[in-house]
Amino acid sequence: MTGSAALVTVLVVPLAGAVAALLAGRRGAVAAGLLTSALGVAAAFVLAGAVLAGGMQRVAVGGWAVPLGIELRADGLAAAMLLMTAVIGAGIAVYAWRYFGAAGHHDPHDLAAGPPGPAGKAAPASTQWLFWPVWLLAWGALNALYLSGDLFNLYVTLELLGLAAVALVALAGAGAAAAALRYLLLTLLGSMLYILGVELLYAAHQTMDLLQLRERLQPGLSVWLAAALMTTGLLVKTAIFPLHFWLPPAHGSAPAPVSAALSALVVKAGFYLLARLWLDLFGALPGAGVVPALLGALGACAVLWGGVQALRQTRLKAMIAYSTVAQLGYLMIALLLASGAGGAAAGAAGGAMHAGRDPGLPPTGGFVGKFALVEAAVRAGAWWAVAVVLAGSLLAAAFLFHALSRAFADAPADKTSAEVPAAPQLAALALALVAVALAAAGEPLRRLLTVGAAT
């Protein structure tokens, strides 16, 4: 399979899977979902291999050259993100398979949840299967987002992703409607700000292709305004402090596999785009260093704030949601360090690895990421960043263990907990193993990430 074929396959598989799942209906959706996951993982690996071997892969959609057409590009960062998404997505699929399999389930991970009342119960089983087409569409949107080189096309993928995420949250039932609605309103607002920025860039440079824009980019009011608008819009979508407030309710009320997907993947898409913008596009502008610094500062606040808030929560999922807020803060700091001279590779690696959701404890990739982050910060003399990362990692670990201890505290009386279906456990274990493997695969991953980073 050639690189471009792999690229197309990576794009098409989840979307086709969504079609298949929708057509298959309630009974066949699971099979479609799982099959798609398997294919998607394989395709992502093939693409990553192709990128590693052959450098950046490009596909001009419809055969039209930029700026008229849309070019899809897989550089190292995109390939890594695709790979990560596929693997995590597969884990989520396995998890969801059992999770939604149990009809009228009661979320076993929500420790503080009371008996499911008529008002608070999740959507009935008859619609739970819709998880599959929606999730596969979200996955397709993510892949499209990673690969897209066109600002407007990115807008469409963002919308597709946002609506899918909202629909997924809505799966939790009427109780989650308010949270989903808030999420929808804000993600729409973010999209609007983003598209406004795209328009300004298009007006100034007659192209929406990222690479072309970078060549043509002239500093000016509209460019700065566009940068500000797009960044703000993405900050909302990425839930960066202090714009994170929508995230905990939304993630906290969603069904567990959805929470996992949202925290691990969806919000990271916004970050990915931010990174693309500031590392590839605006970063070259004179004086552009201020913004990453500001983002880094926000990230620092997010790390601390999210960590403290997570500790205050009584519900496990709310805790995890706040921890996501904190993790996103790390990403911002990584972005800052990456934007500085020299540390790009390390910072980007740190950021990318951090994308896996864990509080940065070994042996996971998150840990390696955290280490790389600290090292980069020490090297750069960014001691405040070191302090924040350390404090944040402490908070994260504290809340993680706090959650763990709750699980243990309930334990002695409750022998039924052994009867939690095996698949979620398997999936959780598999994801943990992936996190470990990510740590182990640090070096190849780094090589992958550097593909195209120099251009």
């Binding site: 020490v378 003399g381 001691w383 070191v386 302090a387 350390l390």
Partner: protein
């Protein structure tokens, strides 16, 4: 330390090792037999009869083995076992003592409910005692010394009475202290000599900067066992409360282990340490006198005997002091000390065993007993024709020029010995009914064990010394040998008269453990109990005194525990701040 050569040597040395280790290993094997895994206690009754025989290999080695040594590089820190001249003397009396004591104990304990426990500790202590005699390196010596010391705790507290437990606690505290001192001494000696073999340590120590430290620590460490002043306090407490056979081996054999330790580890003959030596001589003399006097005031026969042991070990201490002070005199002094130990071991053990036979039923038996008690007592007093005379003579002969005063003092001390012996024999007679320690009348085994010891006391000397030494060669010498005895008798008469005439029948008693009472009181911060110590001790109270609560420390810990994170954070922040400051 560990190489191919060592493993080769292992094979070659196996037979030698068996010879030199058997004395210690056989009791250990016997100990294993006692463990309940081999059968219910009841079925062990007959087997137990064989336990005293565990001392036989040691006796055999002492009597028949040719001198020699074997290196066992794999054992402990590289061990060496063997027998030299001094060792043979020590092994001889030690083995005989344990054998006789064991036989006696068979009878003494035949209906004791805790006899199993007794035999366990007995075997362990015996193994330790034999092992340390045969050990030719400091580490092995220390190992067996510790085994013996700790095992004897079980013998001391055997009765579980409050007095026994109190005595046991004091004993244990001092044992631990002694172990520590020895530990340090051996560690230093090793550093000084680069070897743990006694043959290497002595010469190396002479030139070592750590000489004084090693000497001091050794004196303290073994001094506790020897009962040297002022580390003797456990002896008068422990001996009366232990079962009689245990008292016998404690006072007869184990106390000598300390002496052997001195002889082995101190750099005797290699380099003079006049300061240490003279101090030791002085201490020994003071012990000889003071302990004799204190012993004479005792109300229990075993306490009196215990003080007598302290006094007698004072004599030995003098010999060691001389050896330490004057290198040239060392060989003679060491030989004298060994002979003295030999003599004292049998005599004192015979007296101790005599205590439990005081309640003899028949007149003939009582007469026999009286003779059998009187003979060792005379020997201790140094009467001619006894081993005591020969030992004392050897001691005097070993005194080099410049120590004439010491000779006189020793003679005077011998008078004290006579005094305390008279008191002891008197107590034995008057204790006869009330103070019997065994719960039953003397039986055959008890008599047999005792007889064995009395026999050794009378006839044992030729095994180590010349027969001719047993009596004075000249009339002047006769006089010199007898006057202390007479003086002691006169003093005794004076004391009895004084008590009848002027003291209104009240007795003045040095409480057993003399210095200990005031010391403990000092430590507790309140005055010593007025009543005799053994009646006033309340073990539990004391236990609490040893384990204090120290609330302030508890609060500090609670604070540390509660604010541990803060502490760490503070440290971390301070460090981080400094790192940052430095990086800039």
């Amino acid at each position: 330390m560990a190489d191919a050569a060592a493993s080769g040597a292992f094979v070659a040395a196996a037979s030698g090792a068996l010879t030199w280790l058997a004395p210690a290993l056989v009791p250990l094997a016997a100990l294993l037999l006692l463990l309940p895994v081999f059968g219910p206690a009841r079925r062990m009754q007959r087997l137990r009869l064989l336990l005293p025989l565990a001392a036989l290999p040691a006796l055999g080695v002492a009597l028949f083995a040719a001198p020699g040594a074997v290196d066992l590089p794999w054992m402990f820190l590289g061990a060496r076992f063997g027998l030299d001249g001094t060792g043979r003397i020590f092994l001889l009396f030690t083995a005989a003592l344990w054998l006789a004591g064991g036989v006696h104990a068979l009878g003494y304990l035949h209906d004791d409910p805790r006899r199993n426990s007794f035999w366990l500790f007995w075997c362990a202590a015996m193994a330790g005692n034999f092992g340390l005699v045969l050990a030719q390196d400091a580490a092995s010596f220390y190992v067996f010394f510790a085994l013996m010391s700790f095992a004897s705790y079980g013998l001391v507290v055997h009765s579980r009475t409050p007095e026994a437990l109190h005595a046991g606690r004091v004993y244990l505290a001092l044992v631990v202290l002694g172990e520590l001192a020895l530990f340090a001494a051996i560690a230093l000696a090793w550093q000084a000599a680069g070897s743990l073999n006694f043959t290497d340590i002595g010469p190396a120590l002479a030139a070592s900067p750590w000489r004084d430290a090693v000497i001091g620590l050794t004196l303290v460490g073994f001094g506790i066992k020897v009962g040297a002043l002022p580390l003797h306090v456990w002896l008068p407490l422990a001996h009366p409360v232990a079962p009689t056979p245990a008292s016998a081996v404690l006072s007869g054999a184990m106390i000598k282990a300390g002496l052997l330790g001195w002889l082995r580890l101190l750099p005797l003959g290699a380099a003079g340490a006049p300061g240490w030596g003279e101090a030791l001589v002085a201490l020994g003399l003071v012990a000889a006198f003071a302990a004799a006097l204190a012993g004479a005031t005792q109300r229990q026969a075993k306490a009196a005997l215990a003080y007598s042991s302290i006094s007698q070990m004072g004599f030995v201490t003098v010999a060691v002091g001389i050896a330490l002070a004057v290198p040239a005199a060392a060989p003679a002094a060491v030989a004298a000390a060994a002979l003295y130990a030999f003599h004292h071991a049998f005599a004192k053990a015979a007296l101790f065993l005599g205590v439990s036979l005081a309640g003899a039923p028949t007149a003939r038996a009582r007469a026999l007993w009286m003779i059998g008690v009187a003979l060792p007592a005379l020997a201790l007093a140094g009467a001619p024709l006894t081993s005591g005379y020969a030992a004392k003579a050897a001691l005097k002969a070993a005194l080099p020029a410049g120590f004439e005063g010491v000779a006189a003092a020793l003679a005077l001390a011998a008078a004290g010995t006579s005094l305390v012996m008279l008191r002891a024999v008197w107590l034995l007679r008057h204790d006869a009914g009330a103070g019997a320690h065994a719960s039953h009348a003397p039986n055959g085994a008890m008599w047999a064990g005792w007889a064995l010891l009395v026999g050794c006391c009378l006839l044992g000397w030729p095994a180590v010394g010349r027969l001719a030494d047993l009596w004075p060669a000249t009339a002047g010498a006769w006089l010199g040998a007898v006057w202390p005895l007479l003086l002691g008798a006169a003093l005794a008469a004076l004391a009895v008269a004084w008590r009848r005439r002027w003291a209104g029948g009240r007795e003045f008693t040095v409480p057993p453990g003399d210095l200990l009472g005031p010391l403990l009181a000092l430590a507790r911060g309140r005055p010593a109990p007025a009543a005799p110590a053994h009646a006033a001790h309340r073990p539990d109270e004391e236990a609490q005194a040893v384990v204090p609560s120290w609330p302030a420390l508890g609060r500090a810990e609670a604070a540390l525990s509660a604010r541990g994170g803060l502490t760490l954070a503070a440290i971390a922040v301070a460090l981080a701040g400094l790192l940052i400051a430095l990086a800039n």
